[in-house]
């Protein structure tokens, strides 16, 4: 069909917006880290862009979004590997009239951010090389299949599709594929890597809260591309997704700081930033299926639940350093399940009716299956993958390097140098030699 310049304009914009989310995440996470490990944290996000981006062009798009022959319910094939020959196609049959390569690019940014999200669980202590290997493998064996399950169909009526798509589970913009998936993978990774030295005894507070807010702001901004862009067109569905994304986020941010105020006596910056993200996560799967008032309600629940969920790690004893589990996994589950309650076709014919709209418990059931399947698959495969990497190359840095700070030991840099007194990277002295030695820290 003919290219629709308006839909294409919105999708180009959305793609750029979603790409910006990963640098935004680097700040959200980096600000929460300690000053001696902020760079490593940010590097994990940036290298995820590079790795997942290259994979996507190479074979990722093809495995996630092409027909996979007999395995089509579970994984795609290599027909579109290298994106060869897609240059002049418009996305065929969906009526949006956007060039195929725009859809490819849009989806690339989802794969990128999903893997980057996981890194928050392993702040301060993951070998950088091991992280690079992990991110490549994880995209391949976890992300691509799950994306295929939920989003792929050949577009024909009664045609082939991913098994969760077939089932009728709703996930508009990636609650299961992105957030639950990343959140539970983060849990698995935190378990394999173990706790940071000193955790939870020592304070490991955010070293730069304005950066956390910067990250939250950029994430919020980019998330409009994520959610409203998932309409693949600039029309009423995008409009609904957009206003709901705003409404739910406002409510969740507010709910989080109210919980803090009541429970702890003060509302914090970290709290409002986390509330923003929790709201965004929870509305993601639901944004095109609920009313604005429904979105407000969903936001309140997500903000309050996640405000409590981030404390779980202290009780259960896993060091999910920057709360990926408490925000993304829990928030994603809240959103996915509340679809079963709040969804209504009055908003979007392509949706379904949840409990409150008189649709009964059927939808909730399907949502639970999708959640459960994603949790189980992602957790198990990630656990195995991480263990394997740990065995083969070691996933964790030495205790000495961790204490000195991973920025200087792994990247030969320190984040800041404000002083009048200029010092070096400040790692442990290179060696007990009486004469100047040469530490190579070239860039």
């Amino acid at each position: 069909m003919k290219i629709d310049s308006g839909n294409t304009a919105w999708m180009l914009t959305s793609t750029a917006l979603v790409l910006l989310m990963t640098p935004g995440l680097a700040f959200f996470y980096g600000g929460m880290s300690r000053a001696k490990s902020v760079l490593n944290m940010m590097m994990m996000s940036f290298v995820s862009i590079a790795v997942a981006g290259m994979i996507w062009v190479g074979y990722g798009y093809s495995l996630a979004f092409s027909e996979g022959g007999g395995l089509s319910s579970f994984i795609g094939g290599f027909g579109d590997a290298g994106l060869v020959g897609l240059e002049k196609l418009a996305t065929a049959d969906d009526g949006t009239g956007i060039p195929q390569l725009v859809f490819v690019a849009f989806q690339a940014t989802f794969a990128i951010i999903t893997v980057a999200l996981i890194s928050g669980a392993v702040a301060d202590r993951a070998k950088f090389g091991a992280w690079v290997v992990f991110s490549a493998l994880w995209v391949t064996v976890v992300y691509l299949p799950v994306a295929h399950w939920v989003w792929w169909s050949d577009g024909e009526e009664n045609g082939k599709a991913g098994w969760l798509f077939d089932l009728g589970a709703l996930d508009f913009a990636g609650g299961t594929v992105v957030h639950i998936n990343a959140g539970v993978a983060a849990l698995a990774l935190a378990l394999v890597l173990g706790k940071r030295k000193g955790w939870p005894r020592d304070p490991m507070r955010p070293h730069n809260l304005p950066f956390v807010l910067l990250g939250a702001g950029l994430l919020w901004f980019g998330w409009f591309g994520f959610n409203a862009g998932s309409a693949l067109s600039a029309g009423s569905t995008a409009a609904v997704a957009f206003i709901n994304t705003l409404a739910a986020t406002c409510a969740a941010a507010f709910a989080w700081i109210v919980v803090e105020k009541l429970r702890d006596g003060s509302s914090t910056t970290l709290g409002i930033a986390s509330g923003v993200v929790a709201g965004l996560v929870a509305i993601t799967p639901a944004c095109a299926y609920v009313t604005p008032l429904g979105a407000l309600a969903l936001g309140v629940v997500a903000g309050a639940v996640c405000a409590f969920a981030v404390g779980l790690k202290y009780k259960l004893g896993y060091d999910d350093s920057l709360d990926v589990v408490g925000v993304h996994m829990v928030g994603g589950i809240v959103g996915a399940l509340l679809i079963g309650v709040l969804a209504t076709t009055s908003v979007n014919d392509a949706g379904a009716d949840g409990i409150l709209a008189g649709g009964g418990f059927g939808l909730l059931g399907k949502q639970a299956v999708a959640v459960g399947a994603t949790l189980a698959y992602s957790f198990i495969v990630t656990l195995v993958l991480a263990k394997l990497i740990d065995l083969v190359m070691g996933f964790r840095i030495s205790e000495e390097d961790e204490q000195a700070g991973i920025d200087s030991t792994a990247h030969a840099e320190t984040a800041y140098d404000f002083g009048a007194v200029r010092t070096g990277v400040g790692g442990p002295a290179p060696a007990p030699a009486p004469e100047p030695t040469t530490t190579k820290v070239e860039a």
């Binding site: 204490q403 000195a404 030969a412 007194v421 200029r422 010092t423 070096g424 990277v425 400040g426 442990p428 002295a429 290179p430 007990p432 030699a433 009486p434 004469e435 100047p436 030695t437 040469t438 530490t439 190579k440 820290v441 070239e442 860039a443």
Partner: protein, 112 residues
């Protein structure tokens, strides 16, 4: 009374502090510093440029103590701060004429 000043490697702070508390020291003051000594610094190559970095980050701990404890406390610090690698730091003691606790105005050993 004596003022003991110790220049140590930053990551040794916790151990030194713990050792001092175990010994019975009631207070101390810490500040950031940088220095060089035998550990002459090192040459770094960054983005193709080679240069000498000669100031290395350290922490500076000050403890006011009774004269008779000074030697023991120096000992405690030295033991806790030691890594046997170059750059471990220095500890020194200077005589103190008077000490006052601001809150109460107590002076002398009572003020420690």
């Amino acid at each position: 009374m004596k003022l003991i000043t110790a220049v140590i490697k930053p990551f040794k702070l916790d151990e030194v502090k713990a050792a001092l508390e175990t010994f019975g020291v009631k207070g101390l003051t810490v500040s950031e510093a940088s220095g060089f000594g035998r550990q002459k610094g090192h040459t770094e190559v960054y983005r193709g440029a080679e240069y000498k970095v000669d100031l290395v980050p350290k922490l500076r701990i000050e403890v006011l103590v009774e004269s008779e404890d000074a030697d023991d406390i120096i000992d405690v610090i030295v033991k806790a701060a030691r890594t046997d690698k170059i750059g471990d730091g220095k500890v020194w003691a200077v005589p103190v004429d008077a000490v006052v606790r601001v809150r109460t105005g107590e002076t002398g050993p009572d003020a420690l």
